[in-house]
Symmetry: C2
Subunit: 191 residues, 2 copies
Amino acid sequence: MRIYLAGPDVFLPDPGAAAAAKKALCVAYGAIGIFPTDPWPPSDPLALAQPRSRAMSIYARNEAHLRDCDALIANLTPFRGPSADAGTVYELGFMRALQRPVLGYSNVARRFTDRTLRSLGDSARQRPDGVWEDADHMSLEDFDLHDNLMIDGGIALSGGALIVRDVSPEQRFTDLIGFEACLAHLMSGAA
Amino acid sequence: MRIYLAGPDVFLPDPGAAAAAKKALCVAYGAIGIFPTDPWPPSDPLALAQPRSRAMSIYARNEAHLRDCDALIANLTPFRGPSADAGTVYELGFMRALQRPVLGYSNVARRFTDRTLRSLGDSARQRPDGVWEDADHMSLEDFDLHDNLMIDGGIALSGGALIVRDVSPEQRFTDLIGFEACLAHLMSGAA
């Protein structure tokens, strides 16, 4: 079982340490963790056909890893806004389209509607029918979910787990208890 | 050609009008536009197998539409943060995984790094090597792209277009010039 380790962990000061910690847990559960920054292919970095730029080269490598993995565990801790990191969300949808198990964890437990309202502050308004809207009169999702319904829905439909718990703010991008719970769920054959 | 019309347009005060405007443009180019809120399947709404909730029902419908479409055009105008709407990004990754053309437009032209720095305000810091980081010491992407590299990269690798232009703030979620440019690109066979 090859598991793609999606998340904003790639932006940590020491992404190599984050990768090593997750990979060690994967090994303990009998799986192989693939971190986005792992080389592709391991033996021939030049096989990335003429990357137009460093960013396109990184994209091509990540997509190759995704297609080569059997499942995905995403760090969905809210990142610079009410939702998860955009690259992580893209990868979650990608893997779900391939009908492979997708799982996720968040180290912030507050619900999506509440997080969005907090980020909007005084600019949020309630319509006469009770629906919240922002300053552009665009409505807020209000389904008591962890994030945008495409995220929660994709995980649910794949049979995966979405583990949500509160971790101290300083540890929220490195705490791996939720990650390990996803791993245990996946490797038990439940996903 | 069935085109999935992804975007935060579903949150507009009158999403039906937004759907109708995009669908009319699709017809003019010889395509069929599918809006996320279109019923699925048209003749039998009960075929959505036992939705656990309204949100799961919406998710299942959107995923069915995605699998049934030949291409996707995403409204990637930044939504409540530096990146595009999370549901839209999920759908973009989903369609790219199926190796179908994905295209996008944004009615805000400012680049991703600049938007992220503005949203961080005084909490952003520059490391000695010049890389920007946020208050959690997590780095910022700095590739002169429109959004997270997974978004720009997926569109580029699919051969799709990413149309970025500045529109007045009040019109940024309804202006369809960028959408039509994507449509023209797709229907010309370039994608």
